[in-house]
């Protein structure tokens, strides 16, 4: 597989990123904080008030590293990257297929199979490892069984709308027992259900933030193999929405993002006091917690996991690239279906 490069996340407010020869240098008030050669980095992600010199942007573009800007709270603003790469013919095929009902259905079936199977594994693993600590484990078993039945039905669905309905039901069921997977600090970390824009509790706030990191990485991986992240198959096209990224992300939400959030809470790594409620009811986390989350995500990406389609171990950080590559091969007709990543 491809080499695992690093993403440089910069969230120190007022930091300045510049180029020195072939190096990326981060400094604060003229004091150097970090330095790394550009060829080890494939993307720079800035949160909030971070300044980048034009020469740094040039260096990154030249080395195929993108520079992305987010608000402090993880809302995407803009991205600077070298000219659109890849095969225009591949993208045209992707657009054609996005209007092809049969292709959309088959793709959405794969995507949903990945999502349901991985969500179910998250629940089953919790039952296997912590049944003694989980209250009302019967409810978890019920949801797990419901997911199993949904999985058996994925390939019977006649159209994408049916699949969207199944996906919605599965998500509601899954999030209805999500609190039971939280084993520590249950008072502070409790979610009444999935909500966003703005997230209304600490758990949703954490989930939304990690999903932001995930969608960014998946989009970069798709662009990297020459696909258009905005043209999806399960998710309908809507201007500005990275529908294909959201499609490919489905299989990763539970295994990568949700489990990361659960670990952060269960191992007491995030600080419940580091969240504040805005007058309008949205919950935001402070700098300190954001750093903890980013760092945990970065470390998770360096871990290896077994890929059942490739039949080999692969860095989690490379999973997105691997799936993007498989998706491109699927669009090109090298393989007869899209194989989602399945975690067992």
């Amino acid at each position: 597989m491809k080499k695992l490069f690093s993403t440089l996340y910069v969230s120190t407010q007022g930091a300045y990123i510049s180029k020195e020869r072939e190096n990326i240098v981060v400094s604060l008030q003229s004091k150097e904080l970090f330095r790394a050669p550009v060829h080890l980095i494939n993307s720079v992600v800035c949160f909030g008030n971070i300044m980048c010199s034009p020469f740094l942007l040039g260096l990154c573009a030249e080395n195929n590293a993108s520079v992305s800007y987010f608000t402090e709270y993880g809302r995407f603003i803009a991205k600077v990257q070298s000219p659109v790469s890849g095969n225009v013919l591949l993208r045209k095929q992707q657009y054609k297929y996005s209007d092809d009902g049969k292709f959309c259905l088959e793709t959405a079936q794969s995507v949903l199979l990945g999502k349901l199977s991985n969500s179910r594994t998250v629940i089953n693993r919790a039952l296997r490892d912590h049944e003694d600590k989980i209250s009302d484990s019967d409810k978890l078993k019920q949801v797990s069984d419901g997911l199993r039945r949904a999985i058996a039905n994925v390939f019977n669905a006649e159209n994408v709308d049916v699949l969207r309905g199944m996906e919605g039901d599965a998500a509601v069921a899954y999030f209805s027992v999500f609190n039971k997977l939280i084993l520590n600090h249950k008072e502070e970390f409790f979610m009444p259900g999935r909500n966003r824009r703005p997230p209304k509790d600490r758990v949703n706030c954490l989930l939304s933030f990690v999903y932001t990191l995930l969608v960014h990485d998946v989009s970069s991986a798709l662009e990297g193999v020459g696909l258009d992240p905005q043209v999806g198959f399960l998710h309908k096209d809507r201007p500005g929405r990275p529908s294909l990224s959201l499609d490919i992300m489905e299989e990763f939400r539970s295994v990568i993002a949700d489990r990361l959030v659960l670990t952060l809470i269960n191992l007491s790594q995030v600080n419940a006091n580091g969240f504040s409620e805005s007058p309008s009811g949205g919950v935001i986390m402070d700098d300190e917690n954001r750093k903890i989350v980013i760092d945990a995500y970065r470390k998770r990406k360096e871990e290896e996991i077994f890929h059942p389609f490739f039949k080999e171990n692969i860095h989690i950080g490379l999973l997105y690239h691997a799936q993007a590559l498989l998706f491109a091969r699927y669009i090109r007709g090298d393989i007869d279906a899209y194989p989602p990543f399945i975690w067992k």
Partner: protein
């Protein structure tokens, strides 16, 4: 005769004779991936391209010149072209730099020959030979542009054009040379050569879900 818009990069001839799929990934899919061997080549070429024109013992050496042939439909740049005096004429003598060592096949020779054919068309001369400098063994291999090499090069250029026109990337054929190819991770020959059925993989996932 090709027109200006149809000209393709000379490098394709060599890539095609190495592997048809690699050539398609590069020129149709616009993919590129370096490995140790390609990186070494880049470093070596950077060195070869320091000065543009040099005079050495009566030989004029020019680097980085545009090469073009409407007959082959190719365009590109040279590493080095030496101009050898022959009577009152200067005859070009293309020299290609390779970081490795001489190979048993014609992969490098056809690339050099394509350069020679471009120079012949551009300058209206006949070029009898050129050379490939191999960095690893530090020897200079003289290449004679005989009839069979010219024909092979011409046929490859034609095949290269029809491959790009077809807009289709051929399926991989896994072989020993995949091991040294910098595109292995883009191409995934082991996975796609076997015609693995993804539908079977999906079915297995569904069937493996057990009640707990």
């Amino acid at each position: 005769m090709y027109c200006e818009d149809d000209l393709l990069h000379i490098r394709g001839v060599q890539q095609l004779s190495y592997c048809k799929r690699r050539c398609a990934l590069l020129f149709i899919e616009q993919q590129w991936s370096d490995n140790f061997f390609t990186a070494k080549g880049i470093v070596m070429h950077d060195k070869a391209h320091v000065e543009k024109i040099e005079h050495k013992k009566g030989v004029v050496i020019e680097r980085d010149i545009y090469l073009k042939s409407y007959e082959l439909g190719l365009i590109g740049k040279s590493d080095v072209v030496e101009f050898h005096r022959s009577g009152n004429k200067l005859i070009p003598f293309p020299v290609e730099y390779k970081s490795g060592k001489a190979k048993s096949d014609n992969v490098d020779k056809v690339q050099l020959c394509a350069q020679a054919l471009c120079l012949e068309e551009m300058m209206n001369v006949t070029i009898e030979s050129g050379a490939i400098f191999y960095g690893k063994t530090r020897n200079r291999l003289n290449v004679e542009f005989n009839k069979s090499l010219r024909e092979e090069t011409f046929a490859l250029a034609q095949e290269f054009h029809s491959l790009v026109d077809s807009r289709e990337t051929p399926k991989p054929e896994y072989s020993k040379k995949c091991y040294n190819c910098s595109f292995e991770e883009l191409c995934l020959p082991e996975i796609f050569d076997k015609q693995k059925s993804v539908k079977k993989y999906l079915k297995k996932i569904v069937n493996n879900e057990k009640t707990i």
